[in-house]
Amino acid sequence: MKPPPFHYHAPRTEAEALALLAELAPEEGRILAGGQSLVPAMALRVARPSHLIDINGLPGLDRLEVGDGQLRVGPLVRHAMIRRESVPGPLGALLDKVRGHIAHLPIRTRGTVCGSLANADPASEWCLVAATLGGAMLARSMRGDRMIAAEDFFQGFMTTALEPDELLAGLHLPVLPEGTRWGFHEFSRRAGDYAQAASLAVLEMRAGTIAAARIGIGAVEDRPRRLPEAEALLTNRAPTADLLRQAAAEARATLLPTDDDPTRPALAETVIRRALADAAGIELP
């Protein structure tokens, strides 16, 4: 249960970190952010990086900024720093609720949002949020910056579009307009465990009908994704208990779970239905 040997680098500037990453990526060099996924993986010997490039000492990477209708989350923003007060409007309330479902307090103190995205566990809550809200990832290397849309970023089980020499330099999320309705539900065996199924629903309402719907599912397939069939079913309709039930059932039928756990489809349908009911403000068991 001890990590295998590695070389440790603690750069003092982002430029130095990018140079080290460019040099060491071909030799299994990796970024060390919060270490809350990488260090356990090393202790279990499922990850054996030969070099760790620790970004914890880099100044200015812990910024959480709002501007141009975007929330920008820097690579050293810890889970615990995502709070209702720090993000305006419905997005702040949504992220605050989601944060409480990630692991336990001591892990939230260290683990980072960007680390979760780079790690791309299919059950990660931040990955679900990025996929559902249409977030974008800022990838940075010596070669330059590029933005990667969430639907292109998550490529499968713990696999992303990041190149080995790229630092995930930020997550950009659209700030949700006032009045946006949302619901988040997950099922996990114990508080703080990774979810068995998780869903986020975001509804834009106009005159009592759903003008636009975003529904995401996580922890069921090899990556989080939106559910276009169920979204289409809801659009331009008034939310009723029956309609939401129908949308959740429709969503379930389109899922391709990665395992044959017989409870998974039912859990997925349940979390989707509950997320939708919360978003619509309808009581549904």
């Binding site: 249960m1 001890k2 990590p3 295998p4 040997p5 590695f6 070389h7 440790y8 603690a10 270490g35 809350q36 260090v39 356990p40 202790a43 279990l44 620790d54 914890n56 692991a103 336990h104 307090l105 001591p106 892990i107 103190t109 260290r110 114990r190 508080a191 703080g192």
Partner: protein
């Protein structure tokens, strides 16, 4: 294997020592500094026994490298009591309420709860249960730990009033 010389403060005392870069803070505290109050169970973040305070915030000592604690302040269970004669209110309440049996989980429970009660001095039992959801106890069944925490919170509120 590569090592680094690090300086850090543990329970108010400055220490300087050599640490292999792959050594986690838990092994450094126990092996190099001889502070065996911090316990190691799973060494992959799941059991909570190794929880210590880093600059006042609870973290897993098995998931932070010793070299990452350079220039920072660590508080372990040995540093919770205000003096050698007096117990921390949480320690006193654990004692009075059978909050421990074998004691393996206790250092992590106490450090986790110390931070929790600072942020949330008047918690509900439910909030206490969520706060310790990342700390496994194989002995007590948790009820006595929750009762001890409620009593400690009460005592700390009264002392502050």
């Amino acid at each position: 294997m590569s090592t680094r010389r690090i300086a850090l403060t543990v329970n108010g005392t400055r220490h300087e020592a050599e640490a292999p870069v792959r050594q986690h803070l838990g092994d450094f505290l126990r092996g190099t500094l001889g502070l065996t109050g911090t316990h190691l169970g799973c060494e992959h973040g799941v059991c909570g026994a190794c929880t210590v305070l880093l600059d006042g915030r609870a973290i897993r000592a098995c998931l932070v490298l010793a070299v990452q604690a350079e220039d920072r302040a660590v508080t372990t269970v040995e540093g919770l009591a205000p003096s050698p004669e007096a117990l921390h209110p949480l320690q006193a309440a654990f004692c009075a309420n059978h909050g421990l049996q074998c004691g393996f989980c206790t250092p992590g429970m106490l450090t986790t709860l110390e931070e929790f009660l600072r942020d949330c001095p008047d918690p509900t039992e439910e909030e206490v249960r969520v706060a310790i959801s990342g700390n496994l106890c194989r002995c007590t069944g948790y009820d006595s730990i929750v009762a001890a925490t409620m009593e400690a919170a009460r005592a700390m509120r009264e002392a502050a009033a």
